[in-house]
């Protein structure tokens, strides 16, 4: 009985831990990184 309640909480907390970060906005460093990669590949397409 207790295990079942704990199991339900585990499922919820697991999703919360993930969602907490997944709902944060994209940090600037990654926007910059992808923009740089894109402009590089436009300059010198392999």
């Amino acid at each position: 009985m207790l295990d079942r309640a704990v199991q339900a909480q585990i499922g919820r907390l697991l999703r919360d831990v993930f969602a907490d970060v997944a709902h944060e906005p994209v940090p600037e460093r990654f926007v910059t990184l992808l923009a740089e990669l894109e402009s590089k590949s436009k300059e010198a397409p392999r």
Binding site: D3, V6, I10, A22, V26, P27, L37, S41, P45
Partner: protein, 187 residues
């Protein structure tokens, strides 16, 4: 000929929050997680020809990220060596309030799991992948993923339960010694 089209770049950018969430769940640390994401994006960009358009970009990026993480761990010669229960055995979390688990207790317990079990649990239980997809991402059989998820769940229950574990584990052994000692000290 390797070019990344705008839509793929945009899709990668949209998947960054998901990649960060996965990375944090794996390594438990946001700085290291962001480095993993950075490395993942670079590798993905440089190997974009390996990605088959129309297939699951999210699963492909998750695969790169977990491979990066696990080879990183091997390089660091830690964590991966901590197989079943070595570290987990020392760390049982006792919630202050019976029946209530807070996020911190949970994070501690999650971090104490062997990395392969934590990965399986997060892929299936948090990231929403099917067992089949999780198996493909982790490069193992579906049965292996299922058993990792099951072991992860029961270990978390054990760590987070207010009732002491009785059936197995060092706690049971310790209890047995204590009770034998209490009965007369001969063993």
């Amino acid at each position: 000929m390797s070019t990344v089209s705008g839509p793929v770049k945009d899709a990668m950018l949209r998947l960054v929050p998901n990649l960060r969430a996965f990375a944090v769940s794996l390594c438990g640390n946001i700085e290291r997680a962001d480095d993993l994401v950075q490395e993942t994006l670079l590798k993905a960009w440089n190997n974009i020809d390996d990605f088959q358009e129309g297939t699951n970009l999210r699963a492909w990026l998750f695969t790169i990220l977990r491979n990066t993480y696990f080879s990183d761990c091997r390089r660091r010669r830690r964590e991966v060596e901590d197989r079943d229960g070595v570290k987990a055995a020392d760390l049982s979390v006792h919630p202050e309030q019976p029946g209530h688990l807070d996020m911190q207790d949970f994070r501690k317990a999650l971090d104490a799991l062997p990395p392969d079990q934590r990965e399986a649990l997060v892929l299936v239980g948090a990231a929403g992948f099917s067992y089949e997809e999780a198996a493909e991402i982790s490069g193992c059989a579906v049965g292996t993923i299922k058993s990792r998820v099951n072991r992860a769940r029961s270990k978390l229950i054990e760590m987070l339960s207010v009732s002491p574990p009785h059936e197995y584990g060092p706690d049971a052994a310790t209890e047995a010694i204590i009770s034998r000692t209490a009965r007369g000290g001969s063993y």
